[in-house]
Symmetry: D2
Subunit: 291 residues, 4 copies
């Protein structure tokens, strides 16, 4: 399939590689052109402009935040102006529910198709084509994207016909991961202060009721106190919790644990944690405990 891809960050680059490996004709665009050129040798076409990346059946955006997506889509010569009628804009970025709804309306008014495929997994999982994919949009669009999902993920879920639902589920999922980090961090601070070995504690948890990837990944990081280099930086964690809170606020839903997470991320950042993994929430718990 002819695919365009805009955004070659920590997630975009491995996704691009897996699409090429799966045999798709991929054209990439990145604001910093060097990152795009790195993929040329592996078979990617380089688009000098957003408009040229849009000459595709499916145009993927995988960008850092709302502002980046808005600038790429709504700017002059942007995706909205350039995507052919009937072509699909598949948004993989973690963005707000509100922006996702605006994108849907904007694309519909141009007879373009908008679909969302949010992904769970850190860069290693992206490299291993082992992402979990939560897709939403019209069935025909999702069916067309299915080969892409197979190329980049280990499993995909067709959630609903409303694209923004996939954004909300992604935000709710990241909220749940952050909750795991926070509660694990508090529990580990407690048992460490009592003199119990945190590695043994994590081993027991993940060997019993908590035998899930998220506990294994973060339990290990927290027991090792290995928050740098970051797999997912604290400011991104704050961003996602903020987006979950914003989506909830629009519906008058309180999320007390998310409020607490937001406060702890801010404190972590105020104390110099901008380059740390978001699991450094646990370092704050340890510090507060006097460890």
């Amino acid at each position: 399939m002819d695919i365009g891809l805009i955004g070659l960050g920590h997630m975009g680059t491995p996704v691009a590689r897996n699409l090429i490996k799966a045999g798709h004709r991929l054209t990439v665009y990145n604001r910093t052109r060097a990152k795009a050129e790195a993929l040329a040798g592996e078979g990617a076409g380089i688009a000098p402009t957003i408009a040229e990346a849009c000459r595709a059946e499916v145009l993927i955006t995988l960008l850092a935040d709302d502002a980046a997506v808005e600038s790429v889509v709504f700017g002059p010569g942007g995706v909205l102006d350039s995507l052919p009628g009937g072509a699909i804009h598949l948004s993989i970025s973690t963005i707000s529910v509100a922006l996702s709804e605006r994108l849907l309306q904007s694309h519909q008014s141009r007879s373009q198709v908008f679909a969302v495929a949010t992904v769970f997994g850190r860069p290693e999982a992206a490299a291993a084509a082992a992402l979990f994919i939560v897709a939403a949009g019209h069935n025909a669009a999702l069916a067309k994207c299915e080969p892409l999902f197979e190329a980049i993920g280990q499993k995909s879920f067709n959630l609903s016909e409303r694209p923004a639902d996939a954004n909300l589920v992604k935000l709710a999922g990241n909220f749940l991961i952050a909750s795991v980090i926070e509660s694990l961090g508090e529990a580990v601070a407690l048992i460490r202060k009592a003199g119990v070995d945190p590695h043994r504690f994590v081993e027991i948890l993940t060997g019993s009721l908590f035998a899930a990837p998220v506990y294994k990944t973060y339990g290990t990081i927290i027991a090792n106190e290995a928050y740098e280099p970051a797999g997912f930086k604290m400011p991104l964690g704050l961003k996602d919790v903020r987006l979950a809170l914003a989506a909830a606020e629009a519906l008058n839903v309180a999320l007390p644990v998310a409020s607490l997470l937001r406060d702890h991320f801010l404190t972590g950042l105020a104390q110099g944690g901008a380059e740390s993994d978001w699991s450094a929430l646990a370092r704050l718990s340890a510090k507060n405990a006097g460890l």
Copy 2:
């Protein structure tokens, strides 16, 4: 082995059955004698007094709370008075770290052995001999109890030589389960209010990063809003969170998520939830969201 067992509640009865099935000579004592007699037909001996249950190599207590354990152990004619020197008191109850430390000292002063084996799993898991066991105490004592662990659980962890460590890990573990319930409840309230199907949401979570028993069990209950009959009642949830907070307070450790859980359990109880499962925390989130 000759085993005594005091306490035939939701957990004690299936544990007793599995000990008998594994071929141990079991003598049981229960304050309400009828529950003990129900097991007579299955091969258990009935002890008319605590003292007679204590004529054993290992005396197991599996009681509701600190008060019940204190009454059985420290009262006249209680475990402390009755257990032979060198015999083991194996405490399975979820009790405070402070009481566990007091039990250790009391038994040591009588040349009795005190060990702890806390368990993770609901009554169904106890019936299926599928509990997870966290044991702590002198190695010789734990080695002697190993056949009992095999009879009642699917897996046991030897944590450390200090019995109270196993109590702390149990409390920390229950705190983590309650945290999962709370954050799941908040996330489900959010996605339900946005019109997303909660069953599909739970399916996605447990089919990806959250593929752990605890998310499957509680995700299903919450999606079904099926909080009665209770597997583990709200007052017990409050009790365990309170014990975790007490253990943490003794060490000057703040557990903000546990504080939030405590508040939500109290609100649930004030609104009539005493007979509901502790996962009815999620009903409170739904109610607060106006669902």
Copy 3:
């Protein structure tokens, strides 16, 4: 002095009356013209457009929120386009720190003067010319506005030369008032459930350490459970706490009590409290306590 005033809501109307009473030549503009006409009989001139209200030495804006101020100031034919060079835009509205900073820059680039005078006090206090005023801006501008402050308030404070400081202090002050409401609401729920008379409780507090207007006003409302009609509606309370949180987030400052307030306001709104006074936070505490 020649004064223009835009915004005749609950606060704007009594402020306008007091300016007229003090002998100033006042021209008013309101989107809904009827509210302006009501003041014509009292001596106010009616401006048919924003531009005509701007023909003044001091143009006051007293509007509901950021969006209203942005629309009045930045729109075509708005304040920025219309205010004479050297004239003062005095902003009394409770708006975000970020918007205040943007207003300062925009006015400076047009050689106009921007100053802020935020006020504490409910509509009754505005009617009685008993507001407390926190002013910030260049000293010359504040000196010129001093007669206006005397006309509408009982006391004014010259805070600093940076206008946005007055917005921040207003948000911090409203956060403190909301904190008083929340903690009073919790305390009253407790003593009421214990059978203590809440009126007596409030009388004791305000007759001893808490002899401040804010405790008298809100203590009485809460003891009487008289949340309607609202003096200051819950959505406005949420708005101000949200602005305080936003100002704090921009500086990486966590405000845990504000987070809790935000959650409680959202729950109050989800349960139908949009027309209630913001002190109906206390009704939520009572409800949660099963009262």
Copy 4:
């Protein structure tokens, strides 16, 4: 009147002085006898035992906590054993509601009278006979104690006939003071990080809606960051919040702000604040903000 007084700490000593000044015959008992002897020169009789202090019409206890009161009252040769029938035990200590109820029953069973007079005010206020007194108990008993209240306080409130109500109101009041400290601390952290002068901020608050002693006292301490020497130490603050939480828990009432206070006190203690004033909660907010 013949008065006995047990407990000569920071509050007991000035209270004793004011009783002597008012002309009462005072006999004092203190575990550390030196503190009692210091008062001998001012006219106090020294009781070598608790029993001798109890030879009085009114026996006042003013002790640090539940444990101290229990030891003095229930021990052999204690208040319960020694107080004459019909004499009054007036408890001024900040103790739990549960202990107060137990004291009432115990004294009634001995035909002794139990009444409570809790006080608001720091040691300086005690020295100046400027305490606020909240009294509860049978009217006859309170009438008899009225001259004592006049000797030590500026104002007394007769709350109800149930002594424990005065304990609850004291705990609720201290909870409210701690809430003021916490929210002030957060607000000051915010405005300081924005570059606003905290002294000016406190001046504005206490010159307008927050013109109450509690804001003046703590606003000044916080603006000055002068947490040592302590007027009321952090462990005592934690104790009182804990007692408020316990009273609320017995009634299934959640106090979210109190939970937050408890967490922050624990963190303050874990970081070495045991000798600091309880208003050092504000230091934690500043630290968390990176100040």
